[in-house]
């Protein structure tokens, strides 16, 4: 792969950091302030998209800024895996920005300046994680993301929100120091190398040391990726405003965790070494248990956002499991699920927020008949539910198909049956919502009364994206090409 010096990756990171400053400065003028958010979201997505043709042409836009520790540069690089994450996160930020404005104004929320500024910093950090060229750079953005998300978690400032914020910090900062240890240790034994497809740690130390290092990395990233038993901060964090739950706790923050796992498995250890040191059986059991348990827990939640949160926990582990199976198909399924789950889950959260703004309903049991009042919103919800359960033609089907193929390739029949069972459970906790809304009678909701367009438009667009990704995975932004490029690089073979 050719590297190509480009300011693009830096610009994509910096644009929303700049916007955060402008947002704070124009705190007294809401329209101008939200203007910066929209502008930054569009610019960030535009810049990221402008890098895509280069990446598809086989080049790697890269920029090395300066040394942040002797011998380790702050370096950003847009390879195919990074592009995959950055594109999906920055595109969904555009939708979320519109939605945030509608949502925050619809509810008359307080301290919106802090909210929008923190959001912008979070997005800088997310793109920084996607484009980080080495472990220390990734770690810097990873910690910034942890801190910048905190004000969003505690946004409501109620005792419940503050408690969730403390729990969030306790989990994520602990994960952070474990990750710091892992990064420092890997620099000590393997030097400060840039990420390389296929890994660079092979032969750097004995297998037992490498296994310990692998587990530390998994622990560090696993907290953000909500792998059980490190997941419980995520349901608590649902106390945050819905756009935060939608973009950060379904797409950006939690995916940063699983993205980190994919980076480490594919680009630091490499699939062969990961298999040789015997790490896979230990951690893939955790991922598998997470898939099953979270689905069961989701069944029991009456609060809509909590149900979705547990569903997120499970789907994140789909990705983790796909990465850990170490076969080309499983990797393809897992990585593609980063994009598809993002589109589907953000849709579901958008709907949950729209329902909250319009009808002030948070519980599943109170949704009866709401479909008559908000048919478009709940129609989109039904569509995304189908996808999450893995039914064609919505996007979730494709990623699950490849994941299932991966389990067959590796002969892991237990995991195959787990995936199928989990699909059923997904249906069991998601379908009743749409069924209640459309089929059960209601006294309350009779008149057609949809959410305002700033909320409805993102809902429909996100739902359309989820459908489109299923019908034509390459139509938008060549996501699937990026997936197979990454897989080909990591696995050394032709991919799928």
């Amino acid at each position: 792969m050719d590297t190509l010096v480009s300011i693009g990756p830096l610009a994509a990171v910096a644009v929303s950091l700049l916007a955060a400053g402008l947002i704070v400065l124009s705190g007294g003028r809401p329209n101008l302030r939200e203007g910066w958010t929209i502008l930054a979201a569009l610019a960030k997505f535009g810049i990221t998209l402008s890098l895509l043709p280069r990446v598809l042409a086989g080049q790697t836009p890269q920029i090395t800024l300066f040394e942040i520790s002797p011998g380790i540069a702050l370096a950003l690089r847009a390879d195919s895996l990074g592009m995959l994450f950055a594109l999906s996160a920055s595109f969904l930020w555009v939708l979320t920005s519109l939605y945030s404005i509608g949502y925050m104004r619809g509810l008359g929320e307080h301290k919106q300046t802090r909210y929008f500024a923190s959001f912008a910093v979070c997005m800088s950090a997310t793109i920084g994680i996607a484009f980080a060229a080495n472990l220390l750079t990734l770690f810097l953005f990873y910690e910034v993301l942890t801190i910048a998300t905190y004000p969003l978690v505690v946004h409501k400032e109620t005792p419940e929100a503050m408690a969730a914020g403390r729990k969030y910090l306790a989990y994520l900062l602990t994960g952070g120091v474990v990750l710091l240890l892992a990064v420092a240790w890997s620099v000590a034994i393997g030097g400060s190398r840039d990420f390389a497809p296929g890994g660079f740690l092979s032969g750097a130390a004995g297998h037992r040391v490498l296994l310990a290092l692998f587990l530390l990395f998994f622990l560090g990233f696993g907290v953000k990726g909500a792998v059980m038993p490190f997941h419980s901060w995520l349901p608590s964090a649902m106390v945050a405003p819905t756009p935060v739950s939608a973009l950060l706790h379904a797409v950006a923050v939690v995916k940063a965790g699983v993205f980190g796992i994919a980076r480490v498995v594919g680009f630091v250890f490499g699939p062969e070494l990961a298999r040789d040191i015997g790490a896979v059986p230990i951690v893939s059991v955790l991922a598998a248990a997470t898939i099953l348990l979270s689905s069961l827990l989701a069944l029991r939640q009456d609060n809509l956002k909590l149900r979705l949160a547990y569903s997120t926990v499970g789907h994140l582990s789909y990705i983790v499991l796909g990465v850990l199976l170490l076969s080309p198909s499983a990797w393809s399924g897992g990585l593609f699920h980063i994009v598809t789950h993002g589109a589907m889950k953000i849709t579901l959260f958008f709907v949950a927020g729209a329902i909250y703004v319009k009808a002030h309903v948070e519980k599943v049991s109170e949704l009866n008949g709401l479909g008559r009042q908000m048919p478009i919103t709940l129609g989109v919800f039904a569509l995304a539910s189908l996808g999450l359960a893995g039914l064609p033609p919505v996007a979730g089907f494709l990623s699950k198909w490849y994941l299932a193929q991966g389990t067959v390739e590796t002969g892991e029949m237990v995991f195959l049956s787990l995936l199928l069972l989990s699909g059923l459970l997904n249906a069991a906790y998601l379908f009743p919502i749409a069924i209640r809304a459309f089929l059960l009678p209601s006294e309350r909701f009779r008149r057609f009364d949809e959410a305002p367009w700033l909320i409805l438009a993102p809902v429909v667009l996100a739902g359309a994206l989820a459908l489109l990704l299923g019908l034509a995975p390459n139509a938008l932004f060549h996501f699937f090409t990026l997936v197979s490029r990454t897989v080909a690089g990591v696995m050394g073979a032709g991919g799928v």
Binding site: F66, E67, I68, S69, P70, F139, L140, E143, V144, T146, I147, P151, V154, E157, M162, G165, R166, L169, L173, T174, V177, V178, L180, L181, A184, W185, V187, A188
Partner: protein
């Protein structure tokens, strides 16, 4: 400019006298003279640093007497690095003092400024001297000024300062006894000369006694656990500007003296390999980090919390020394710089809160984020630095210390460093929660823009900016300055 090493302490002494005289004539002039003196120090120190880095160490022989007979002053990379920190923090704290002191202890103002310059003279003297006894003299100059400054607070301050005086004098005596042992074993007081003669005496009991006494004395001065008990009271009751001057510098300079003894007097061959002194220091530091962090969590008084946090943070420096390898020592030295900025900023913020709102207790900080937006933004940056969140400076000292711990294979120290950043997060996020997300406390107004006067706010913001900038440029500092300092370790 051979006199360069001596210029710093001399100019501070000179301006101290000018400040007294000017202050007798007109109060305002005393302050102006003190700030002028501190302002002269900064370019001198920075010029010294650049000159040392480009042209090598500068040596000056007092009165033309050659060492080992006369007193030698040495400006090497380590000394110039320390002098730069001392002068910058000194200037910022003195600028700030005008408003803070006039608010808290106006009657003491004419005395405080000259004594503060005396303190700076002592501290810079410690770092530039190449003579063990002369170091003692400067150590006492700085300590005596510190007692006077700390005692100038209201209420329990004189009592706390008296305790510090007793313990500090014992510490000074320990150090002096150690110097005596060295003098009668080697017949010399010049550091370089002593260092040459010591390897022949590695088996000597007298040398062992000297090492133990000097380390104990300096350990007490740097508030190394369990010798830290004087510190929390002394820092809590002193005027804000005084704490803002002393907390970032005093204990760190004692830490510098320990590092100097380790690198350039006894040498790693003795303190690390022959007698396991550094290991002992490391374990005490590890204990201190944990205990002092837990104590900090238990405090309601903001200044007392910061004081315990200082004990924990200066133990980072001792821990790096305890690792006794290049990366550990780089972490320790970088932390001297980083912590000076972070803790300086935090104590000045505490003074700003007192100036505007008049409270100390963390539970009464509700709503300060809106009331004093710039001050509290600076506080947030410094707090994140203390926790060690990148890209603030505090992260990078942690980064080198962890690397040093891994290189030494000392997993217990690594665990302590990592755990300590979580404990630090507990006590700082407790304050941040109050400041930004709690309902208004009585006495805190809803209005924006009640930051302290510009003269107080600017030093606060410069220090907070420094916490960010020093983090981003840390690699330059490490590769240009600190790697030169620890070079003797890499060879051995």
């Amino acid at each position: 400019m051979n006199q360069l090493p001596l210029l710093l302490p001399i100019s501070f002494l000179l301006f101290s006298i000018i400040s007294v005289l000017a202050g007798l004539w007109r109060r305002e002039l005393g302050y102006a003279a003190a700030v002028a003196g501190a302002a002269v120090g900064v370019p001198l120190a920075l010029w010294g640093l650049f000159r040392v880095l480009s042209q090598g160490t500068v040596r000056y022989h007092l009165g033309g007497w050659l060492p080992p007979f006369g007193i030698e002053y040495v400006l090497d990379p380590l000394a110039a690095f320390m002098a730069s920190i001392i002068t910058v923090i000194g200037l910022l704290a003195l600028v700030y003092a005008r408003w803070s002191v006039h608010h808290e202890v106006p009657e003491k103002a004419p005395v405080l400024y000259p004594v503060a310059l005396l303190l700076l003279a002592g501290l810079t003297g410690i770092v530039v001297t190449g003579d063990l006894f002369n170091l003692f003299v400067f150590l006492e100059i700085s300590s005596l000024s510190a007692y006077a400054l700390l005692a100038s607070g209201r209420g329990q301050a004189p009592l706390a300062a008296f305790r510090y005086l007793i313990l500090g004098t014992i510490a000074g005596s320990f150090y002096l006894l150690g110097v005596g042992f060295i003098y009668f074993s080697t017949g010399s007081l010049n550091m370089a000369d002593v260092a040459e003669r010591l390897p022949l005496l590695y088996e000597s009991r007298a040398l062992l006694a000297a090492a133990v006494l000097m380390v104990l004395g300096l350990g007490l001065k740097m508030a190394l656990f369990p010798l830290h008990l004087w510190l929390p009271d002394a820092y809590t009751y002193a005027p804000s500007a005084v704490t803002g001057l002393i907390a970032p510098l005093m204990t760190k300079v004692a830490g510098y003296a320990l590092i100097r003894l380790f690198l350039d007097v006894f040498g790693p061959g003795y303190l690390r390999d022959t007698v396991p002194v550094t290991v002992a220091i490391g374990w005490l530091a590890a204990g201190g980090i944990v205990v002092a962090s837990v104590m900090a969590i238990a405090q309601r008084d903001f200044r007392r919390m910061l004081a315990y946090s200082s004990v924990a943070q200066v133990a980072y420096v001792a821990l790096g020394l305890g690792l006794a390898n290049p990366l550990g020592l780089i972490g320790a030295l970088l932390h001297i710089l980083n912590h000076a900025f972070m803790k300086g900023c935090l104590f000045l913020v505490a003074g700003g809160v007192r100036y505007r709102v008049g409270v100390w207790e963390v539970p009464r900080f509700g709503g300060l984020g809106r009331h004093m937006p710039w001050t509290m933004a600076a506080f947030a940056v410094a707090a994140l630095g203390m926790i060690g969140i990148p890209p603030t400076a505090g992260f990078f000292s942690k980064w080198y210390l962890v690397q040093g711990g891994i290189a030494a294979g000392n997993w217990a120290f690594v665990a302590v460093i990592l755990a300590s950043s979580l404990l630090t997060a507990v006590y700082f996020f407790r304050v941040l929660e109050r400041v930004y997300a709690a309902p208004l406390s009585p006495g805190v107004a809803t209005s924006r823009g009640s930051d302290p006067p510009t003269g107080m706010l600017v030093p606060i913001l410069i220090l907070a900016g420094g916490v960010l900038v020093l983090g981003i440029i840390n690699s330059i500092i490490v590769s240009q300055v600190l790697e030169k300092v620890v070079a003797p370790l890499s060879g051995s």
